[in-house]
Amino acid sequence: MTLSPNDDLVFLGRDSIAADVLIRHVRQAHNGAVVTFDGCVRNHSHSRTTLYLEYEAYESMALEKMHEIAASLHTLFAIDSVAIAHRLGRLEIGETSVFIAVSAPHRKAAFEACRHAIDTLKKTVPIWKKEFFEDGGVWADGELPPVPAATPAAKPAS
């Protein structure tokens, strides 16, 4: 668990997520709203029964990308504070895999920032989910993160 310069809380680990701690962290006297997103393990995928999930991450890069998301929310939205947590390892049905809390003076910014945070996390943070069914495990379909364009070479290769 690490704190950013904005006092945002970012957590990536195997321990279960304490949603109340994240909410308390972002909730302050000058807030008018706290919006949360609780991503939980669903019991089915494409009409198949899911038994459990396993998450793995490129941990150092994932943590950095989660910090980048938190920092970007302060630039894009009029918010006060952010907490983002993601679980790794084996998760059972119904457990929380990701939890995001955003506080703001007004609800609109908090809703929009929370939505932006989970949408961006799913596209850019190097975390992978393997779904386990009765007949084995399958890596979930994912999204290919955007990659910066190549900078032109100083001179063409000869």
Binding site: G39, K130, W139, G142, L144, P145, P146, V147, A150
Partner: protein, 81 residues
């Protein structure tokens, strides 16, 4: 030039290891590096269009020229959340 290479998710299973260290010529690109593994493990080659690379934990284009000591990772589509 020694380069540390990491594989994740499905790519880790195909490559048979989470981490490898390879010796590359100076001027080699991330694309050259991937091709080296794809040559040894053809199953990786068919996934190339579904792979992004990172260099020192930042997403990087295939044409990026490697520097000594770089940490390169090959990442399948991400599926967190």
């Amino acid at each position: 030039m020694q380069t540390r290479v990491l594989f994740f998710g499905k790519l880790k299973e195909l490559a048979g290891a989470a981490e490898q260290s390879v010796e590359l010529r100076s001027g080699a690109t991330i694309s050259d590096l991937f091709d080296r593994f794809a040559h040894e493990t053809p199953a990786l080659a068919s996934f190339r269009s579904s792979v992004v690379a990172s260099r020192n934990q930042e997403f990087a284009p295939w044409t990026t020229v490697l520097e000594p000591g770089d940490e390169i990772a090959f990442l399948p589509p991400v599926s967190g959340g």
